[in-house]
Structure formats: structure tokens, C-alpha cells
């Protein structure tokens, strides 16, 4: 097969890779992208999007179940709600299918050549791709490694049979009667809550002594409360040992050495994700590492000239929007523009029930530097819109410097607060002060009013609390 020469080669079509390629195409760079499965990467195929689809379906179903049980305060009644999870999955696959098609279309529109197959570096300028029709060699002036991440496997619980990863959980066609989840991070909790709503008896095992260790307890407490209300059991400080000999149950040991036997039809392991640093010929290169990750500088350059890395393979936080921003930046750098990573904040969201959103520093993180901070906290119990949504759990919290009121971080927990992340991110990125937010008119009646109120409260003059 004839060699391809190009200006930019992107390995991986996840959110980082495809955005990088589209932007490069827009900028007129001769760009090739290699994908080994479907475009869209983990995010579109087995991550963000399908999990949100499942969570939405679970919410609707759970609502219907509550109606049937006569527990609906609005007076809505339903009878015998049922869910056909196979159909749910088909609906979800329809969404991901449309999105992956969309990505392919966008890449083509931008003039990007797509090569399907597994890529392997030969040297710092050459990549060989095993395609269905044979080996394709690509020479590129610049190469972007966007190989992403994969679920971490526990040696005691290898994937297979009852033991599934998030990918497996998102393709179940029957709701498991008893679902054991290992790991109380955001993936485990998002899926755990969804399956609890779908009717599974969920037990979550976490080795640490708290859920969602990336967030402070003020934020996670409403989620813990909700888990309990949904009948999910959370075993903290508990280590898994493996499956029982019969494969009937998950074996675990609590903090006080007590043996636990958790009968389970499925065991979902969500103990984190690892960067994909093998399988693409890293051994042919001289790339410095940063722990498990590829080391990059503020322009996403690796230790080798002309080789960039973006997304999950480069470190935490492993979030699609971080990868996209990196991809866009790298395309512009390759096209000759001056860019560097200068973001003030990367928002992070947990699509649990209730949702958690965090942008910038938490109060503790802000204080860690010895800085004096002002914290404003506004509960949704005092927000009219939240009441009409029957979602009064949660709050918005604003963290600002005490001296000049510069907003350092914004967090919220509550139903639907993920959409507030736009305002939060903009405020932090623009360098807003408490006064800027407090003086911005927030539409009524919306949950976003809590944002302005939290800022006013930090300034000492909240109106509705």
C-alpha cells in the first residue's frame, strides 16, 4: 500500500483526537486520523454519552415506579411500569450511532483522511496501521497521541463472566437482580444509582472510607443520602478479595477484618481508568513518562520533537472536555499559532442523583495556600424553581478570595446542576468577582438564581435566605 505523507497525524478518534483533527483540517493542515474501532472513542461509544442515556432512562423508569407506588406528590399515577432494557440499549445505541456518524461527517467535511486500523509507531515520524486491506504506512511531520484510557482491571476480579467493566454495564440487556459495584468513584456511583433505579439491589464496595473522594463531604452528602433512600448499600473501608469459589458472591473484608459475602448476579468493577500507553509502539520511541501517563508540557509536547499527546493518556483529570481543549490547542500550535495551556479551571461533573458540579477550587483547596477566603452557600430549599422540580436537595457554593473577591471556585450539588457548569466555568475563566456575579441578572425562576444568591451571600447580603 502506498505510503501516506501528511503534516499532522492523530492517533485516536476520541473527543481529543477528533477535535484536534477537525480543527487541523479547518486550519488547512493536511491531516490524517487513525481509529481502530469507532470514531468518538470512549466518550461517545462506551462512556459519557451512553451512560447519560442509561441514567436518563433509569430516572424516567424510577419516576414511573414511584407513580405506580402512589408516592408521587404531584398526584400522577401509573400502573405496572416496566422496562425492556434491550430496547433501552437499542435506543442508546441509536444515539451513539448518530453521534459517531456525525464525527465521521465532521472529519470528512474538514478534509481529514480517516484510516481505520490499529496504529503502531515505527519511529518518531512513521506510523504503520494494520488495516483490513493491509498495512498502511503514514509519515507525518507531527503526530498526536490520543489513545485515551481504559477501565482498570483488578487482578482478583478479572473482567469476564459476571465481572464487568463500565463498558459491559452499558450493554446489559437485562437488569441484574443483585449488582455489586467495586469502587465508589463517579463512574461506579453514576451507574450504581441508575441500576438501583432500574430495580437492582445494589451494593457498593469502596476501599476508602468515603464515596467520591475527589469531592468534599458537603458535596457528597446529598448523594450518600440518596443512595440510602434508593436502598443501595455502601460498604466503606472494605477491600474486595475476589469471587467466591462458586462464583455466587463477591468476597470482601471490612475495615475491622470482618469477612463479607455479597451475593451478586453481576459485579461491576469501576476502580478507575488507566491511560492506554501500550499497544501502539511506545517502545519504539523515547517518551518521558509522568507516572503512568505520558509527560507533556504546557503545549502538550512530549519529550520527542513533533510528537504531542492529549487527553486521558496525559493525566488527570481524565475528562473529555479537557482532551477537546488540548486537541484544539495542538492543532493550532501545529498550524503555527502561538498557544499554550492557560485554562484557569476544568469543570468536573458527577451525573449522580443529585448531580455534582465543581469548577475551580473548593473552600479547603482555596485555603490550603494560606489564603483567606469567603464562601457563599445557597440552598435549593430557598429556590422556587427547585421546589417546582421537586428537587430541593442541594446547594450552590461560591468560593472567593477575601481580599479582592475574585471567584476561585464554584460547586453545586442538586438535580440538573450540570447545566449550571457553563455559568460557573465562564465566571472562573473570565476572572469574575463576587460582585460581577451578584450584579448579573439571573433569570427567574431558574436554579441559576442560586448562583447569584450564593455570591451575594458571600458578600453578606443574600436576599432569599
Amino acid at each position: 500500500m502506498k505510503e501516506i505523507a501528511c503534516k499532522l497525524l492523530v492517533i485516536g478518534t476520541g473527543p481529543g483526537g477528533y477535535v484536534c483533527a477537525i480543527r487541523a483540517g479547518q486550519l488547512g493542515l493536511d491531516t490524517v486520523i487513525v481509529e481502530m474501532a469507532k470514531p468518538g472513542g470512549t466518550c461517545l461509544n462506551i462512556g459519557c454519552i451512553p451512560s447519560k442515556a442509561l441514567i436518563h432512562a433509569a430516572d424516567d423508569f424510577y419516576g414511573a415506579v414511584a407513580m405506580a407506588a402512589g408516592k408521587n406528590a404531584m398526584g400522577i399515577r401509573a400502573e405496572n411500569p416496566a422496562i425492556d432494557l434491550a430496547k433501552t440499549m437499542a435506543w442508546k445505541d441509536g444515539i451513539t450511532g448518530r453521534l459517531t456518524m456525525g464525527v465521521s461527517g465532521l472529519l470528512k467535511k474538514a478534509g481529514v483522511k480517516i484510516v481505520v486500523g490499529r496504529a503502531k509507531f515505527r519511529d518518531g515520524k512513521t506510523v504503520a496501521v494494520e488495516t483490513e486491506t493491509g498495512q498502511q504506512v503514514i509519515r507525518a511531520e507531527n503526530i498526536v497521541i490520543a489513545t485515551g484510557s481504559a477501565p482498570v482491571e483488578l487482578p482478583a476480579l478479572p473482567f469476564g463472566g459476571k465481572v464487568i467493566s463500565s463498558t459491559g454495564a452499558l450493554s446489559l440487556t437485562e437488569v441484574p437482580g443483585r449488582l455489586a459495584i467495586v469502587g465508589a468513584g463517579y463512574i461506579g456511583l453514576e451507574l450504581g444509582i441508575a441500576f438501583a433505579k432500574l430495580g437492582s439491589k445494589v451494593t457498593i464496595v469502596e476501599a476508602l472510607d468515603r464515596i467520591l473522594p475527589l469531592y468534599d463531604t458537603q458535596l457528597t452528602q446529598p448523594v450518600a443520602k440518596r443512595l440510602s433512600a434508593l436502598g443501595a448499600e455502601v460498604l466503606l473501608g472494605t477491600k474486595v478479595r475476589g469471587m467466591s469459589a462458586t462464583g455466587e458472591a463477591l468476597l470482601a473484608e471490612t475495615g475491622d477484618g470482618e469477612e463479607k459475602r455479597i451475593a451478586a448476579d453481576r459485579v461491576l468493577v469501576t476502580v478507575g481508568r488507566r491511560p492506554v500507553t501500550e499497544g501502539w509502539g511506545r517502545e519504539e520511541l523515547e517518551l518521558d513518562m509522568d507516572g503512568r501517563f505520558l509527560r507533556i508540557d504546557e503545549q502538550c509536547r512530549t519529550s520527542m520533537r513533533g510528537i504531542y499527546a492529549i487527553g486521558d493518556v496525559t493525566g488527570e483529570p481524565m475528562l473529555a472536555h479537557r482532551a477537546m481543549a488540548q486537541g484544539e490547542m495542538v492543532a493550532e500550535i501545529v498550524s503555527g499559532k502561538r498557544r499554550n495551556w492557560d485554562k484557569r479551571a476544568i469543570p468536573a461533573i458527577c451525573f449522580t442523583d443529585p448531580e455534582i458540579v465543581s469548577v475551580g477550587l473548593s473552600p479547603d483547596e482555596a485555603r490550603a495556600g494560606g489564603r483567606e477566603v469567603k464562601v457563599g452557600h445557597f440552598p435549593f430549599t430557598a429556590n422556587g424553581r427547585a421546589m417546582t422540580l421537586s428537587s430541593e436537595e442541594g446547594f450552590v457554593r461560591v468560593v472567593a478570595r477575601a481580599d479582592n473577591h475574585l471567584v476561585l471556585g464554584i460547586q453545586a450539588v442538586g438535580t440538573g446542576v450540570s447545566e449550571l457548569s457553563a455559568a460557573f466555568s465562564l465566571a472562573v475563566e473570565m476572572g469574575a468577582r463576587l460582585e460581577d456575579i451578584a450584579a448579573t441578572i439571573h433569570a427567574h425562576p431558574t436554579q441559576s438564581e442560586a448562583f447569584a444568591e450564593a455570591s451575594m451571600r458571600a458578600l453578606g447580603h443574600a436576599l432569599h435566605v
Binding site: G431, L434, E435
Partner: protein, 433 residues
């Protein structure tokens, strides 16, 4: 509670508008009766506007440099007394020290830019620096702290190759704005030179208001209307200086000390008697020359408050001591700021004299609509060839400009030669012909 509306009073006959040159009060200020509120300037003088009432200033109309029509409301003062809105007429205070802008030699204006009293402090625009305010405004960025800038500013800075840590932020919390970046970029281009000397590309904008604007307008008018002819001649002042020394050495009580000016004035009176066309106003729009019988000599002089041109009226009717007395009185009045408006107007010919600063030659600008101005240069001892040898003589140049439309070169030369003859043989000044 009542409100007084302060209107711009009638500040002079035939004056329809005046330029606002200074606010003495701000909105919110408490004023007493007779507190000066503002100063306006007409062609002739600066007029101070006092408050007729006691109260709080609630409204102010106009910026420095604005032309305000007579009768226009300029201030509102909230008073404690009852009564609704009330308009108040005020007797303007015409103060002193109001220099009549006059065309004289270029030196006082060009080389000694002493701000006239009514010019507000220069408004500096090209200044950057973090503003700090109370709580919330925040202090400037602390050492080592990351610069705060919105993404678009960061992007522009990156593209321009600017390290934002170098850029002072004037926005809230020290945020770097697009304007801050503009300012930095404009300074950056041409950065530091190897010698360590810095280019200074700042531009200061100084609004031309008040007296300075009057002078500017009058100078432009004179130079655009009048084709100047400037004639320079040297004068041997040795004899006059001997006479002056003798007179000053035996001054009777009550007699003023004599400078060169009274002699020059008297010489001018004599020369004008022979050439009345020199002592005139040329009304170029009507096409008429007004030749004056009276010789009213304006004398341009620098005072601490700026350029002042008092007028010695009827020099033809004053003897040398009287001229000296009047010059002394007026210049003293000018320095004290007690000179009257009438004493600053009505000249028919002008002397421009800078004494020790007089230089060798100047090109005085005629005080429109006059037709001549006599410039006095510095007196100095210079070698003079007396036919057989060089002798030290006290020499002084006269640099005089004439309106060439109405005065021919010959006439100009004749006038100056006559002054030279009179000054070199001072007895002739006193001989009645």
C-alpha cells in the same frame, strides 16, 4: 428644601458666551454664600462665579473647555430654605490678573510654557498602573501571583508574544483588560535599547483651554491675516545708559527709577508723531485704517501667573517719569493680580521686551489689529568700530514687525531708524520741535 439654579451671568458687554475654565466645586460639595463655584473666561478676562446661597451642589453642567452661553444653567444648589426651583442671578467677580492675550514675541509662549492660571492640570492619558480601591477592588497582583485575564486577552497576548506577568492589570481584582494589553503593546514596540536607555512613546494630551486657547487663536489670527515684515537694527545705547545712570543716581523723592522702557516709549511717541500710520489699527474687513492720536503702548511682560500685557495709556501725554511710574505701577499690579480689565485693553502699538532673556533677534507677532510691534533684545557690551579702533559700546537690537499690507519696508525702516537716532542721542527725545 429649595433648589437654586445658578446661571452663567452676563460677564461683559457684548459677550454671548464664555469658556468654562475651572470648576471649584464638585457635586455633593457643601458651599457657603460667596464660595467660588466656577471660573469662566471671555475674550477679555476670567470671571469667577460666586455662590449666592448656602447649600449642597446637586448638579453641574459642562466640562472644562466648553463654551457656555450667557444665561445657561450651570449649577444647581440644594438649599435649606423653602421654595421650589429658583433662578439666581449673580454679580460676577472680575478678578485681577487676567492677562489679555497679546501677540508678543514667541518666546513667552513657545519657550516658557508656564501654564496660565486657568489651565487645568494636564490630563494624562498615557498612564497605566494598577488601580487599587477599597475592599473588593483589590490590591495589585502580588509577587509571583498568576496574572488574571479573560481568555480572549490571554489569547491576544500569546499571539503577540507577550508574557502577561509583565502586564499591569487595571481591571477589578487586577484583571488584565484588552485596554491594558493595548497599552502594553504600544509601549512594547520598540522595547529597551541595549544602552539601557528607554524609548518613551507616551503621548500626553493637554487640553488647550482658557488663556492658552485665547493666545492660540489670536496668534493664529495675526499670523494668518498679517503678512509680517520684521526689521532688525542695532542701537548704541551707551549715551542713553549714561544718562539713565545719572538720572537714577540723583532721583528726587517720589520719582520712579528709570528703565529703558520709558525712554523707548517717549522715542516711539516722537517717531509716531512723524509717522502716524505706525500707531494704528487696520480693520481689514472694513478696509479701513484707524490712526490714533493717542499712543497707547501695550507692554508684554511675564508674571508669575503668566503673560500679561498691561497698556500704558496716552504715552504722548506722559513725561519720562510718568511713563516709568505707569509701567512700574502696572507691572506691580499685574504681579499682584490687581490689574483691571480696562488696563489690559486698548493698546495701539506694543512693545515686546524680555530684558535679559531678550536674545539677539526675535520675530515678534503683531497684536492684531495693530500694525506694529517693537521687540527689545538684550543689551550687551560689544566691540564697535569707531573709524579708527574698536571701542566697547553698550549695544542693543530692536526687532520690530510691521503689517506689510499697510506699511512698506521703507516706512518700517524709516521708523526704526528714527527710533535708533533718538535712542542713540537721547537728548533728542526731550527736545521740543
Amino acid at each position: 428644601m429649595g433648589e437654586k439654579i445658578i446661571k452663567l451671568p452676563d460677564v461683559g458687554e457684548g459677550v454671548a458666551q464664555a469658556e468654562l475654565v475651572e470648576w471649584h466645586v464638585n457635586i455633593g460639595d457643601l458651599v457657603r454664600e460667596d464660595t467660588m463655584l466656577a471660573a469662566v473666561m471671555t475674550d477679555k478676562a476670567t470671571v469667577e462665579i460666586p455662590s449666592p446661597v448656602e447649600g449642597e451642589v446637586t448638579w453641574r453642567n459642562g466640562d472644562i473647555g466648553d463654551m457656555i452661553a450667557v444665561g445657561a444653567a450651570i449649577l444647581k444648589i440644594k438649599t435649606a430654605s423653602d421654595g421650589g426651583e429658583e433662578e439666581v442671578g449673580i454679580e460676577p467677580t472680575v478678578p485681577a490678573s487676567q492677562p489679555e492675550p497679546l501677540s508678543v514675541g514667541p518666546e513667552p509662549i513657545a519657550e516658557k510654557p508656564k501654564p496660565a492660571p486657568e489651565i487645568t492640570p494636564p490630563k494624562q492619558i498615557a498612564t497605566v498602573g494598577p488601580k487599587s480601591g477599597g475592599v473588593g477592588q483589590g490590591a495589585p497582583r502580588a509577587e509571583g501571583e498568576k496574572p488574571l485575564a479573560p481568555p480572549a486577552v490571554r489569547l491576544r497576548a500569546k499571539e503577540a508574544g507577550i508574557d502577561l506577568r509583565q502586564v499591569p492589570g487595571t481591571g477589578p481584582a487586577g484583571r488584565i483588560t484588552h485596554e491594558d494589553l493595548d497599552m502594553f503593546l504600544s509601549r512594547e514596540t520598540g522595547s529597551a535599547v541595549a544602552t539601557g536607555l528607554q524609548l518613551n512613546k507616551s503621548v500626553q494630551e493637554v487640553k488647550i483651554v482658557g488663556l492658552r486657547r485665547r493666545i492660540a487663536e489670536k496668534m493664529a489670527l495675526a499670523k494668518s491675516r498679517i503678512p509680517h515684515i520684521t526689521y532688525v537694527e542695532e542701537v548704541d545705547m551707551t549715551a542713553l545708559e549714561e544718562l539713565r545712570a545719572r538720572l537714577n543716581g540723583n532721583l528726587k523723592p517720589g520719582k520712579p527709577k528709570l528703565t529703558i522702557l520709558p525712554f523707548l516709549m517717549r522715542a516711539m511717541v516722537k517717531a509716531i508723531a512723524e509717522q502716524p500710520g505706525i500707531n494704528a489699527h487696520f480693520d481689514d474687513e472694513a478696509g479701513v485704517i484707524h490712526q490714533f492720536g493717542g499712543v497707547h503702548i501695550g507692554v508684554a511682560a511675564q508674571t508669575p501667573s503668566g503673560l500679561v500685557v498691561p497698556v500704558i495709556k496716552h504715552a504722548e501725554a506722559r513725561d519720562i517719569f510718568d511713563c516709568a511710574r505707569e509701567v512700574a505701577r502696572l507691572s506691580e499690579a499685574a504681579k499682584n493680580g490687581t490689574v483691571l480689565r480696562e488696563e489690559l485693553t486698548g493698546s495701539t502699538i506694543t512693545i515686546s521686551s524680555l530684558g535679559a532673556m531678550g536674545g539677539i533677534v526675535s520675530t515678534p507677532v503683531i497684536n492684531y489689529p495693530e500694525v506694529a510691534i517693537i521687540g527689545v533684545n538684550k543689551l550687551a557690551i560689544r566691540p564697535h568700530w569707531d573709524g579708527t579702533q574698536f571701542v566697547p559700546r553698550k549695544m542693543m537690537n530692536l526687532s520690530s514687525s510691521f503689517d506689510h499690507r499697510v506699511i512698506d519696508g521703507w516706512d518700517a525702516a524709516t521708523f526704526v531708524q528714527r527710533l535708533k537716532a533718538l535712542l542713540e542721542t537721547p537728548a533728542l527725545i526731550f527736545v521740543e520741535e
